[in-house]
Every structure is written in C-alpha cells, then in structure tokens.
Amino acid sequence: MKSASQIAADVRSGQTSAVAELERTLSVISERNDELHVFLHVDSDGARAAAIEIDARIARGETVGPLAGVPIAIKDNLCQVGVPTTCSSKILDGWRPPYNATVIERIVAAGAVPVGKTNLDEFAMGSSTENSAFGPTRNPLDPTRVPGGSSGGSAAAVAADMTSISLGSDTGGSIRQPAALCGLVGVKPTYGLVSRYGLIAFASSLDQVGPFSKTVADSALLLEVLAGHDPRDSTSLPEPAPSLVAHVADGVAGKKIGLVRELFDGADESVVAAVHAAADALREAGAEIVDLSIPELGLTLSAYYLIAPAEASSNLARFDGVRYGLRVDAPDVTAMMEATRTAGFGPEVKRRIMLGTYALSAGYYDAYYGQALKVRTLTIAAFARAYEQVDLLLGATTPSVAFKFGAKTADPMTMYLNDVFTIPTNLAGDPALSVPFGTGEEGLPVGVQLLGPGRSEAQLFAAARVLEIADGRP
C-alpha cells in the first residue's frame, strides 16, 4: 500500500484522484470490516463529497494541502460534525457532535479525507479494545489476537491497509501500545503540542492526540499538520508548530541515547532482544548508548491508576442523561441519572469511576490522589535529570507481542501492567513513539520505544528512521 505522502503527491500530480484513493479504501473496508471490526461508522457520503471537492480544487489549479486526497481513519473519541461519535460506549448512543475537534479541522484543511470512526476501548480505558461496548477489533496480522488499545481500531485500519494513516489518542500508551502490537509507527506527542479541543476527555492532564502510520515519514507528516497552538485549548503550547518532516533523515550521529533498564525489565525475551538490537543499530549509526536506571519509573503505574481515574470520574460525570446520548427513564431526575449511568457505562469504566471517586474523597485525597501527584512530580524530575545526561531514551513499548483475546481479561491488574512502559512519559508530559523493530513470538512484530524531552519530536523521528532502515524498510 502507498504511503500517505505518496498518495498526496500522486493526487496532486494527477496520477490518481482523491476519489479513486477513497474508493480503494472503501472497498478494503467493505471486504474486511465485518471480520476485523475496525470501523464503528463509515462516513462514505461525507468522505465522497470531500474527495470530490479535493479533485475539483486540483482541477481548478488551486493549492491543496500536504495530505490532499489521503483517506484517514479517526478514533471514535474525536468529535466530527454530524458523524456519530460514541467513545465505544452505549451512553453516547445517537449523539452527533455539532462541532469539529481542532484536529479534524486541521487534517481537513490539509486535504485529508476522513472516512469513518474507529473502535476503541470504552472511553479509551483499556489495552485491547475488548472493553468496547460494540465488541473488540481483531488484529489484522493475526485475527485471533488483540490489536492493542485503546486506539485498536485506528491501528488496525492502517495495519489492514484500509488507510495509510489514522488518528488515535494516548493517555497511558493508547497509541504506542497498539502501534507496537500491529507493527506500526505510533506517536504520543509532547503534552500541549496537539490541541485536545474536541477530544472527548478520559484524563485531561494526560490525553494527547497523535498519528499512526506504517512509515516514520508519514507520522512526521501527519503530526506536522496536527501540531500548533489552539486558542480553544488552555493547555495548548504557545510556540509555533515544529518542523518535523525536514528532520526525518537527520540520523543520530553524535547523539547520546539512554537504554533504560526500567523500560524493558520484565518483558518477554524476544522483546528485550529487540530493544538491545535497536540499541546496537543506533550505535552503528553513530549514537552513543548509555545504560541508565531511573528507579522512580517503578512508581508510575500506581500513580497513573490514581490520577487518570480521578480525572475520569469528574470528566465522565456529564454523561447523566439530561442533555444528550442515552437516557433511561425513572421516576425522578436522580434516579434517571443513576439508571442511565448504570445502563450506559461498561464494567471497566465503572471500575475507574469508582477508583477515581474514592481517590478524591474527603479523608482519602491525601493518601491517594495527593500522593500520586507527588509521584508525578518525582517522575518529571527524574526524566529531567536523565535528559541532562542523554538526548533520548530507549526501551520497550510493551512487555509482549500481541496477545490472544481473553488472555488478560480475568484480572484487571494483568491488563493494566501492559501499560507499564508507556505510562511514565504521559505523567511527565514528554513525547515518545513506538517503531517496529524485529519480530517476536509467532513472527509477530515487536515495538521499541523512543522517548525524549518536551518538544523533541524531530529528534525522535530521526532516531526512529534509523531503526526503520536498520529493520529493512528503506
């Protein structure tokens, strides 16, 4: 399948058309969506209208953006005008947003053609899409296995060659983990680099929207379109968007990269081997590899599972049946809210709302939420100290390759542990990406994770490109 940059170039030059690219996408979706359950909603009409418009603009000789005519899949927690948006939850039943997320506006302005909304773990809470109220997505590389989560649908859309790029969101690894399990590049940008306006919040201080793609260059291209200040998001960084595509080929010569023990300890043998092989590849490309230990990272999983649920318990309060989505009738308004939320939320969402409510309660705040905030401060300081010694950090993205359905659903903790390597950088607000490197069990892809200080995306892409080449994808 062609890369996004290739599609855009071909559409602009007239070698192909936006309509033709879209029809190819729609036909792959209709062939495989029943089996894989990638899309919850395919917006064929809206997408066709958008593609026709792009072709018409090109025919009139108008300038079109860097994603002209590129079909793109959208995680179903991003608001798009008039298109059903569910967060894979029954509680948003029938809701169609009256406004666009900033990221939707940006990709459309860049010429991309949104084709539909992809499956996720309900409200982005999960690591396998098994928490979707509408059933899980299957991993296109092995349909008996999960695609990862929560952005599993967006990862599967690219892995199944439905689209070349897609949008996900990452709160504790929800882009990088499915990218690793589906053999893709996935990026969690610096907190504030991409606007959260129109992203339905899970944990506001951790959520970031980011790209999936098969190639490093495509992720750089898409992130360049997404990034930049948005006055509608108070936490949006004020600085102008960084130039990324221009730095993909910069290499790593002279860079110092820390190999962090806590970011691969306990992972499967094949994963650990891939991380070491990646370190070797970076060294061969001229980087200096430094062994590092950041013991504070061992505290981050517990802190994350207090902070994220605490914020979620408040963010998800608005789903009360009064204004939109599901309403279960009851004799009075309090009973209606209770009945609506009882019927509308799945078990994992309820579990996290209860965890978060407890952590914020009077008498428990200091011991739980307050303590977690202290760990977060320590984590930020620990990463900052590491980045005084090295430019980037290297580790695993996940403890294992893609696992089978049901393998981690018996005990929630087992599933939570899947995020152990990805969570720390969300707490710190720093960027990280996952890039495929080597294979593990059953020939399934392994993802290695590159982490950097705030706004170091260009360096991360350059290092990822080195690994991409070393892994045989020139």
């Binding site: 108070s234 309060a317 608005r318 204004r323």
Partner: protein
C-alpha cells in the same frame, strides 16, 4: 431589633455577584439576563463532550477590581472542580477557585465607622436555571423539569466576609455598602431583583465574651430586607433553642419570605463531598504587575470617598439630606452636585434635585448635561424659576433635552413682572384683611398662606422669595 440581654449574634456573609462581562467566564457566549431560554449557549457552556474552557480576561479584570476596592491581596490562583450531580450544571461539576483564590484578605469600612474583614473574593461559574413543573415547585416531587443554560457559565465573584458582623442592621449596611462598591467598580449592576447579587448568611449566637457558637448558613437571600429579617429570625431561633436547653445543629437553612422563618435544608452530616481537585483543563492564573497596574489605574473612587466629598459641600446636613446624598452616590450622579458647587451654587438644592427629579428617571439622565442642570438650579436659586417650574424644566430636559432658558420661555415660565406680582399681592391683601392684619402683627406663618394664594392665582409662576419681599415691603 435587639437581642435578649447578654446575647450577641455573630454573622459572616458570603455574597455572590454576577460580573458585567460581555461574554461568559469560559466561552464566547453572550452574558445577558432575560434572553429566550437556551439561546446564549455553545458546546463549552453546555459541557458537550470534548469541549474545553478558556478563561475570560475581562472577568479577571473585574475580579481584580473588586479585590482592589476591598483592599485584598491579589495572588497567583488556580481553578478547581467542585463535583456534584445536578441537572442545571452542564458538566456535573462547577469550576471554582478553592484553596488559592485571586483575592485574599481585605476589609470593608461601613458608613457608621465599623470595619468588616474580608477573607477572600474568588471567581467561579454560575449554574443554569431549573424550572420544576408539578409538585411543590422544587426538584423533589416535580413531574418534569426544564433547564435554561443561558446562565450556565456566567462569571461570578464570591466575596466572603470574616465573622465580624454583630447585628442584622450591620449586615444590611455591609451588603448595601458592598453593593455600592460593586456598582462603582463596574463589575456588577447590583440588581438584586434579577439575581445579580445573592447573599448567604452564616449566623451564630453567644453570650458576650464567650467563644463562637455553632453556626447555621441561610442560603440564597436575594434582597436587603430578606437578609435582615432572616438573620434576626435565625438569631432569635438559636437563642430560644439554647435558652430551652437545646443545642444548635450546624446546618444549611432556607429562608421563607412569606412565612418569615428559616427551615432546615440539610444538616452538616449529610453534606456533599465535593471532591475538589485542580481543573486540568485550565492553567494557573497569575496576572503580572503590568496587568494589575492597568486595572488599578482604571479604578475610580469608591462610594465612601465619594459620599464624604458630597457631604463636605453641605453645611450641617440633616439625616434626610444624608439619605439624599446616599441616593446620589448610589446612582453615581454626584457630578451634577459638584458642578453646581463649582460655580458656588447651592449644593443642598442640587442634592435635592438629583435625589428626587433625576433619581426618578435614572435612564433619562444621559440626556441631561451638567451645564443644563447647573443653569436650572441657578435659575431656581436666583428666584427666576419657582420650585415647581424648576422641576418641570428638569423633567423636560430629562425627556427631550434642550436649553433651560428656552424651555422656561416656551412654557411661559418668564418671571412674573414686579407689577403683576404687586397687583396680585394687593388684591389678596384686600380680600383677606384679617390674615393681613395678623401678619402685620408679626405672625410669620401667615407668609406661607399668602405665598400659597399667590401660587394659586399665578399657577405656580411666582417665586416664593419674591412674594415674601413684596409682603415685607407692604407690611
């Protein structure tokens, strides 16, 4: 009202005021009272999924003005979420300042010379408004409820006083003075009847010299009269309870205006746990010195100073005149008084005309220039217009504007010629010989009788002073 011997009440007030910003606290929707329901709304104030708040700088300006007027310290502050489920709150949490308010500390001096300390004045968003149909008109038991989100997200400042107030009259004076300050800062229109200002009163009682008693909070008082009555009722209720050997429970109470009593809303034990935490969608607020300086420079004088400046123009003013000054200050119309004083005119006459004629038509005052007002007062003062005529001229100036001399001429308010006045007085003396004799014998009260008769015959065109001069000349 006085409390039974030995008892003292301790009162602290929490005053919520809506700010007169053009738009709401966290979105661009119009901040306007009285629009059709659910017309000033958008994804942000409706709390639609994915929407995010952005702080309105104008609201911060107003909050700082209030803090500066109350001598508060302006400090870096944060916004928290106060979590509770209620249908008129679109996000099911309220964004409010919690442990770090924009204004902390301060005080307010009352006209009687007492000082009430201010603990804090913080920013928060208002909720929507529910209308409950059927049942008692409250949420519980209603058949259905309608919610209007126009008010949802309107900026509020909550001003919390220290427990320094010792009488309901002082509480009322505090509320009235605070209202004057809020109007003077431009932060609020002070319209109690529209809910622009709402009062919560914390009331406890104790024997003089003892530690504070257990307090009850009376919620949502919306007039100065209710505030005073509710505090009196509540203090007496607590005293009776204690006198009978009972104890005061800490609770929130509701004031029933018709019954004239408070009743339990909820007791402390089942108080909600609001699970406050810092709102991750907003960043810290730390207005720099330049911003604070800009706000301070734009702040005019406060009512206390303006009041004393007007009072200084009057020689030994009566209570009625002081009340008139209060009206002048309340309406912010003292420039008319100062303009009269500036040309050595009669300031007390100016105060009277502003407090009566101008106050009767505050919306029309825009049409009245200070020059026209000064001219009218001077004409009256010099006897060129009678009081009735001066009031008519002011009325015309307020309704249509124009020139006082021209209006007087059109209305036929030319001064009565000396001849006409003289012949009128002569006619009256002839017709009332007994009264004239008593006046000549020194009964000065009879002067009023003749003035009244002259006014009747001349349809109010004569000037009282001129009549007296004429009478004196013939005495």
């Amino acid at each position: 009202m006085t409390l039974p011997d030995g008892w003292e009440m301790v009162v602290g007030l929490e005053v919520h005021t809506e700010l007169l910003t053009k738009s709401k606290l966290f979105c661009g929707c119009e901040n306007h009272f009285g629009s059709e329901p659910n017309t000033n709304i958008c994804p942000v104030c409706l709390g639609l999924p994915g929407s995010l708040p952005v702080l309105n700088r104008e609201a911060v300006d107003f909050a700082m003005r209030i803090g500066m007027a109350l001598h508060s310290t302006i400090a870096p502050s944060t916004f928290h979420r106060k979590n509770y489920f209620y249908p008129d709150q679109s996000k099911d949490y309220q964004i409010s300042q919690y442990d770090l308010p924009i204004n902390s500390g301060g005080f307010l001096d009352l006209p009687d010379g007492s000082r009430v300390s201010i603990e804090r004045a913080h920013m928060e968003e208002d909720t929507g408004k529910s209308t409950h149909l059927g049942g008692s008109g409250r949420l519980a038991g209603a058949e259905s409820s309608l919610v209007d989100y126009n008010r949802c997200g309107v900026p509020l400042v909550e001003i919390v006083s220290g427990p320094d107030i010792r009488s309901s009259a002082q509480a009322r004076a505090y509320a009235a003075e605070l209202r004057g300050i809020l109007i003077a800062t431009g932060a609020s229109d002070g319209r109690l009847e529209e809910g622009s200002m709402r009062f919560d009163a914390n009331v406890s009682v104790r024997h003089h010299g003892e530690p504070f008693g257990t307090r009850c909070e009376i919620k949502n008082l919306n007039s100065l009269r209710s505030l005073q009555r509710a505090i009196d009722f509540e203090a007496l209720r607590q005293i009776e309870l204690l006198d009978d050997g009972g104890v005061v429970r800490q609770e929130t109470r509701h004031w029933d205006e018709n019954l004239g009593e408070t009743s339990t809303l909820r007791v402390k034990e089942d108080a909600d746990d609001y699970r406050y935490f810092r709102d991750p969608d907003l960043v810290d607020l730390a207005p720099d010195q330049a911003w604070q300086d800009r706000v301070r420079a734009a702040l005019g004088p406060m009512p206390a100073q303006r009041r004393s400046e007007v009072v200084a123009l009057l020689s030994s003013p009566s209570d009625a005149q002081l009340d008139a000054v209060e009206v002048v200050i309340d309406l912010g119309l003292e420039k008319y008084v100062h303009a009269v004083a500036a040309v050595a005119g009669d300031a007390s006459l100016a105060v009277a005309r502003v407090a009566n004629e101008l106050a009767a038509a505050p919306d029309d005052v825009v049409r009245l220039s200070t020059e026209a007002f000064v001219t009218t007062v001077l004409m009256e003062q010099r006897g060129e217009l009678s009081a009735t005529q001066a009031k008519t001229v002011l009325g015309e100036l307020l309704t249509n504007g124009g020139d006082p001399h021209a209006i007087a001429a059109t209305k036929g308010f030319e001064q009565l010629s000396a001849d006409t006045l003289g012949s009128t007085v002569a006619t009256l003396i002839e017709a009332n010989p007994d009264e004239w004799q008593r006046y000549r014998d020194g009964d000065e009260k009879l002067a009023q009788f003749f003035i009244g008769q002259v006014m009747r015959l001349t349809k109010g065109q004569a000037n009282g002073k001129a009549v007296i001069a004429e009478l004196q000349a013939r005495r």
